[in-house]
Amino acid sequence: MSNPLRDMEKPDVIFAIGTNMTECHPVAATRLKKAVRRGAKMIVADPRRITLAEMADVYLPLRVGTDVALLLGMAHVIAREGLVDESFVAARTENIEAFLEHVRQFDPDWAESICGVPAADIEKAALLYGRAERGAIYYTLGITEHICGVDNVQSLSNLALMTGNVGREGTGINPMRGQNNIQGAGDAGGLPNNFVGFQPVTDPANAARFSEAYGREIEPIKGITKVRALERAADGELAAMIICGENTVVSDPDRHHCEKALSKLDHLVVIDLFRTETAEFADVVLPASAWAETDGVFTNTERRIQRVRAAVPPQGEAKPEWWIIGQIAKRMDIPGFDWSSAADVFNELCSLSPIYAGVDWDKAGEAKYHWPVPEKGHPGTPRLHEDEFPSANGKGKFMLVGYRDPAEVVSEEFPVWLTTGRRLQHYHTRTMTGRAGMHYFVPEETLEVHPDDVSAWGLTDGGWCRMSGTRGSVEIRVEANDRSPRGTVFCSFSFGDTPVNLLTGAGYDPITDTAELKVCPVKIEPAAARANPS
């Protein structure tokens, strides 16, 4: 997030797009609810009539995967009505002329023809956001899990730049990070393109510095993404893999492909808390100590660096992951793994990361530093972009983005849009929530189908259906519910016995390789009860 969570109570106009915040980031949502109660206006764009939509002043029910069209239409109106923040644009951005020229062609009627939102509502939303004193954008995977995820983010950035809604209290472009430490996984260098602290591996100076620090020549070439690694594995061109705490088989798209990939490896090591579906493919499974048993650091969605602490001893012989990996490394004579505590590991990380240079293990314990913290004594940076953007010349650049269809679109054979997401009480593949009593609320997966479609397709509420796409099919129980519009159905990917990831995975964003999990054309037929329902 560009702005801290506490800023969520400050905007006068909130634009929430592709974020089912009351279920996925519930405590952040309470802050938005407070802002709304105090009189802030809220625009919500989502294919489904989610809880936030019920509280919205303007609800934009766009067709899945058409965010770019909607956002172009809004930019068109903001430009046409003269709501561009001229002084901000002049001082802090570049490429505005080309952008204004570009959006002139995309009026709300054009946008309506693609995204299905009435032009009048697009106008309304654009005027509201365009006139905001403090407008803030919030989004999650509904924006990024598309083949055009980068285009979507750039479209949002364009809106914020043209209205000057960045770098101030109660504004910003705020992605809500999904997992507890997904931000930290990037910060700590778990990326093919960056060393710790987002230092590009392709910069020769960085490569030299890390080669020196790690005692081995590191090639200044971007690694491949996980998606490509699994492809290579499936083609028999990858020998070994080590997977830490991820149930790849259930969480990743195109399950058959993923299973094939893992079974072709010569050597798979899985480190996890449980014997997951993925662990079944492993040659060696190593038991990790869990949250509440492990000392460490997490960084949250607002870049706040916080300590987690052990309260109880690990179960059985479970060990912290840094120790396990260090033991493997030592056995391979890889130098530099002589840590004796999590603090040693974290302090080494800080010494190599410019954005963590001012923190260490003890400061992380204060839970008050938002990175970047460039030097000791620096108070941290709760709000980004107050004076400049992280580009070569410090300016924010307007990007010319066009609409593209999703990788697969509905057809005669597969006439229904499936979109996937999460549920309040469950988390990912339920390795944790499935073992913590949350089945009390949601004991099994259901497919959310509009009541009119339930009858039109010959289904029954609570009965079973077969949902098929080009890659596979699943049986799933039907739940008549008008949150999803007609012709669109929804379910989560949390239940291994309803492997929705047999269907998803048509395409990937060309820049980030993020899978298009939010859009998948399917057909739906009534089915007899599943033989072995959970």
């Binding site: 809500m176 710790v196 449980f274 509440a292 012989e317």
Partner: protein, 363 residues
Amino acid sequence: MNKPIEEPAVHTLTMDGQEVTFHDGETLYEISRRRGAEVPTLCYDDRLDPFGGCRLCVVQIEGMRNPVASCTTMATPDMVVHTRTDAIERHRKTLVEMVVSENPAANIDTLRGSASQELTQLRTRYGVDGTRFAGKTSGTSKKDDTNPFIFRDYDQCISCYRCVRVCAEQEGDYAISVMNRGFATQITTEFDLRLEDSAACTFCGQCVQTCPTGALGDAKAMRAETIDAPLKATRSVCPYCGVGCSVDLMSKGDKLVGIRPARDGGANEGALCVKGQFAFDFVQHPERLRTPLVRDGDTLREATWDEALDRAAAGFEKARREHGTHSTYAVASGRAPHESTYALQKFIRAGFGTNWIDNCSRA
């Protein structure tokens, strides 16, 4: 552009014989708390709008006939305030006696929730045993409410409305409402249903954590009432979503028994959702992996750490020897702490000289 927010004006008043400065908009209670004066409260929760229901926080202002509730009274310049006169303490004791008379004397385990000892502490402070106004009690237990998360024992309810207000003001959910008045008062969910049948209740547990009497309790934590060990709190962060709510891990001996929201947590300021509040028992679940496993043909069998680590290392060495540095790939976790990912990326970079690592953020 950003207008700097004006600093509120500073004034002075006299409290318990001492001159105190304060800002416009501060209540007498806030000032007394800042000074460490122990003004008792029951219906007060600093996150909620002032309510003024219990009147325990009364103070005497010179020149005014009757004591006033300090939690709802704004400070004005040059006031002279007394927070603890004999008359006020007598008045407070009477109030506590009346409140307690509605409630059977009970041993409220602290496991019920963060605020559950507030009334018990006042009983001790004022030496009240509940016999003076013995008689009618308000509320009836919701014994049919069998959900395993929120225990409801409305015999203990003193109608302070903190649960109702936290639900409305903090959560914005309005799941709990108040029916009836006076002795017939009963805190109830919408339409007097079971909590799980209330469409609005998300089981965030905020009502439990603000209840000052234990009328609402954390049913999961209460399972540990019989464990004979001190209750310990360890500050940590929720393991679920990226909001990163601060929590206190509650443990007794080696057992993780519950979770409490941290009121001073920067991300959550005392709030939690159902996952952070209640979904912790995966940690000590019987299905946890307790030893390393290695493959023997079609099966995975238990192994010692030495055997398993040797096997793991040998496999990577073989891959590197036979297929070169681009033979091996690592997938880091978005849930594990930094140290896990840092160690893993170093393993790849220092061990293979490549950048063949990713985390699970693309799916």
